[in-house]
Every structure is written in C-alpha cells, then in structure tokens.
C-alpha cells in the first residue's frame, strides 16, 4: 500500500519577465488502487502539477512538499522518482531521434528492475505489451516517438506503464487525440495496470468520456493553480453540463 502526498505545493516558471507562479498551493493525497480525476480549464496548471511531481527541470518548487510513502520526492532526481515508483504519461511525449523503442524500453526496464531482463522472457514481454495495446510490432524498431501519430504516442505511453509497473501513475490527457477504439484499448491498459499492480492513478482529462472506462473514485476541479472543488464521479457530469464558469469567476 503506497501513498502519494502533495501538500501546499507552490510552483513557478521562469519567464523573460521574471518568475511566474503557476501552482498556488495544491493539496492532494492518492493511495494505491485509487483513481483521482483532475479536470480544469486550459492553462490552469494541470500539466505543471504533473511535471513538477515528475521533476521536470523547467519548474521551480517554491513551497510545499511531495512525498511517496514518506520519502521526499522533491529531493530526488528525475530517475530516482521513477525508481521510487512514479510514472508520468505525458501530454506531449518527446521524440528521441536515433534511439529505438526496443533499446529504450530495455534500458528503462534494466534501470527500474536493477538488472537487465532475461532476453528470452523480455522479448515475449514486450511483444505481449504491444499486442495488448494493438501496436504493430514494427514500432519496436522505430525511434522513440519519432513520426508517431498523436494516438500512437499515447498508446506507447500506456504500453510503458504496463511494462514498467510503477506504483503511482499520472496520466496527463492520455485520452486527448484518441479515436473511440483507441480510447477503449488504452483505458483497458490502465485498468489492467490498476488490477495487476494496485496502481494509484492521477488522471488529468478534459472529457468525461474516458471516465466511463476508467472509473474515478474522486474528481477534483483544478482552476487557477489549485484544487477548488472535490467530489465523487457525479461531479464530472456536472462539469460537463455546466463548464468551469463557477470556478474561474471566483
């Protein structure tokens, strides 16, 4: 049983006009097996929250804390956070020219497992993970995310989620850009990871569509750099009907 605890998190980015505060005190606790959905208007800071937890160098933490099972996440390097059990499925996965998917996955698995996976079982494992997400095996020899369509990049992220078996996953708009079939396939991947690894999920989305497949236990409304309301799954339906007007005008 793991707990990711975010307390009073304040985050700034450096701009040409000095530092700008984006997160203004975020409080959130996620336990193993729980799914928390975050919904909020464009630019409210959802990706900033996701990147800050994962340790992207662009963001400066100016206050608050993030712990995973009591360990100080903010004190860890990016790779140490992954080794501690955190995973970020990115809104815009990055292309890495010249590095094949199979080389990348094997290097990642070796780093996270502490030893190189046995070649025999590994090949089958990757093949299985790709099949489960309806990805052509040819992707293994392609360069990481290079030339992938938007939807293919998202499948690739969830394939990594299944393969790398983290404790906590942040899914930043994984559903954006997916066709109806892909949405179902990707959701099933997330649900498998939940079932197999008791994964805790922080799911950032703009649409209730994905919440039909991945049932949230909690829904949080994010506006202007913090959580402004919390509720159950029905809050998502309310948001879909009414929009964010109530929250941004405050």
């Amino acid at each position: 049983m793991s707990v990711l605890e975010i307390r009073g998190l304040q985050v700034s980015v450096n701009t040409e006009n000095g530092s700008v505060e984006i997160l203004k005190g975020v409080d959130l606790t996620i336990k193993s097996g729980e799914t928390h959905a975050i919904m909020g208007p464009n630019g409210s800071g959802k990706s900033t929250l996701a990147y800050s937890i994962a340790g992207h160098p662009k963001y400066t933490i100016t206050g608050g804390s993030v712990t995973l099972d009591g360990a100080d996440v903010l004190d860890m390097t990016v790779d140490e956070r992954a080794k501690a059990g955190l995973f970020l499925a990115m809104q815009y996965p990055v292309e890495v020219p010249g590095v094949s998917v199979s080389n990348f996955l094997r290097t990642a698995a070796t780093a996270l497992r502490g030893e190189a996976p046995k070649l025999r079982t590994w090949v089958a494992e990757v093949k299985g993970a790709m099949e489960a997400l309806n990805m052509d095996p040819a992707f293994a020899t392609r360069n990481v995310n290079e030339g992938f369509s938007g939807g293919e990049k998202k499948r690739h992220e969830i394939m990594q989620l299944e393969l790398l078996k983290p404790k906590m996953a942040i899914l930043d708009e994984t559903d954006s850009g997916l066709d109806v079939d892909a949405l179902r396939i990707v959701s099933e991947g997330v649900n498998r990871a939940k079932a197999n690894n008791d994964l805790g999920v922080l799911l950032i989305t703009h649409y209730t569509r994905i919440l039909k497949y991945i049932k949230p236990d909690f829904v949080h409304v994010f506006a202007n750099g913090k959580i402004v309301e919390e509720g159950g799954p029905d809050l998502a339906d309310k948001l879909e009907a009414n929009g964010y007007a109530d929250y941004v005008s405050k």
């Binding site: 160098p57 992954a82 890495v96 020219p97 010249g98 290097t107 790398l164």
Partner: protein, 360 residues
Amino acid sequence: MSVLATNYLTPTGREEAWRFTPLKRLRGLHDGSAVVAERNSLVTKAGLPKGASFTRETLAPLAASDDVIIERIRGEVSDVAHLSIDANAEIKDPIFLTRSAGALDSAEFSRVRISLGTHAVATVIVENIGDTLLAEDLEIALAAGSTLTFVSLQEFDSKSVYTARHHAVVDKDATFKSITVTVGGDVVRILPTVEFTAPGASAELLGVYFATTGQFFEHRMHVDHAVPNAKSRVNFKGALAGRDAHTVWIGDVLIRAVAEGTDTYELNRNLLLTDGARADSVPNLEIETGEIVGAGHASTTGRFDDEQLFYLMSRGITLENARRLVVRGFFNEIITEIGNEEVQERLMVRIDGELERAGA
C-alpha cells in the same frame, strides 16, 4: 629517409584553406620539416575476394590538387597502394584495409588508389588506427555504372596527426557513397572531395566526428558539379565535449554554369556537450546556373535537449545513461549507414568511452 626540399609554398595560416588548422601541431607535415620514412602501412586485413587485387605500382595522380601537403606527397612518392575492383565484379562483403605500422618521430607520406571498373560494386573500409604521423593522398576512381561505399575510420590513438585528401572522380551513372568517421587523433584534417566527370553520377558524403578535450578535427568538403544532371548529398554530424575540443566543417559545393539539372543538399549538425568546446561550420554553396533541380544547405549547433533527457530519465534511466543514449542516437543515423554490425558497435563503444573520458 629524407628531409623534404622546401620548394613548396608553406601555409602561414592566413590562407582560407588553413585558417582554422593549428599548423604548429602538424609536426612539420605542412612545411617540409617532418622526416619522411618509408612505411607503406596500408595493408589488407584478410584475403581479398575474387575480382579484387591490391598491389603497389607507379601511378600518375588522377586529379590535380591545390593542397600543399598533397603536393608534397606527390613530390616525394610515386609508389601507390592500389586496390582495384574488376569491371562487373559484385563484391558483397566489405574489403578491409588497415594500418600495419605507425610512428610519431617520422612521417609517412602515403598514396592510395581505389578503382572500380565499369558496373563493379564494392564496399571498402579503411581502418586508421594506432599512433602515427600520416599524410595521405587517397584517390578513388569510379568507372561508369559502378557503385562504391567507402568507409574511412579515424580510430587513431591520442597523439596521431592525419592530414589527407580523399578525392573521388565519379563517372557516368556511377554511385559514390562515403562515410567518414573521426573519433581519434590529436589533429585530423580530411578533405573529402568529389568531382563528377559525366551526367547521371551521384555522391553521398556522410560523416560523423566526436572531438574531446584538446582534439582538433577538420572536415573540408568540396563537391564540384562540372557536368549536368549529377546529384550530391552531404550530411555530417559532430559532437564535442571538453575544453578546447575544436571541430571544423566546411562544405564547399560548386555548381558550374554547365551543370544544369544539379541536385544538391548539404547538412552539418553539431552537438556541443560541454562548455569550452568550439564547432565551426561553414556551408558554402556557389551557384553559376539557375537551371537546377535543387540546391540547399543547413547548419545547426545545439546542446543536449532537456526534454529528451527528461523523458528518458522519467523512465528511470540515469542522467549519464540518458546522455549516452542521446549521443548514440544522434550518431546512429549515419553510423548505421556503414552496414557492418561489428564496426558499428565498435564505434558506438568508442563514442561511449570518449563521452565518459570527457566527463560530459
């Protein structure tokens, strides 16, 4: 042994062709002060396949040169190491040439010829290894319809000085592809040059270089489109790490008035992995006719992409390994063109080692 007569013009460093080169570190190759020894170091690594022969013979130069060191070599040496591929021979496996000897207290002046008969197909890999002082006039003749992949690997040890011209003369419908890899030596200065003698010829000059602390690597292309309907591509990628690592890439492409239908593109990309290194990149396209298919160039110099490193590290990969992957990935595009797994892996391991040594 003999000391060269000094009736050649000695570069001062002010000439366009020499303005980047650290002349003082050439150990006298350029000014005649080097003591020349007869080493004939270039040898075949294994037996030659059918259709190929390797001999020493007296040959007149294939093409004129305005390079001082090439002139000095030609003044001194008439004996040429000649790898010849018969007309119509199709040789699948690469032919390896390597160095059997080297020294730093004397210089080797080397003349090499690689010639392909009409419609011959071959791959030649030259391994330049060890610590040596070597000036080389290497000429390549591609007869009509022939296809050559020429790989030159500068895998020297740290004190070597190598100055060379690798000049290809490409006849009708012949296809020349060169891959120049420079990862070792103190000073390496290579002039990969091409001239087309008939329409329908094509040349692809690919290269990678990785200079670390104190190393100087210069690659000075010259592609002469003197006939119509020839095609050329240049793509060199370089990385630099450590204090005073210095690379120079010059891409001179000349499209003469007669060269209608020319199609050319040249690209140089550099990756500066640490502070204190310097990459000079000078594309230079001269176009004397408007009737061309295309002509372009691009040159970029960048640093590690934080987004790439972050993505890799977010999957548990350490910063050190993430950098290694990115650098390998950067070079991969060109290294895989060699088409020989063993050589490719050896080069990647060398690149890893250089990266580690430079502490990047």
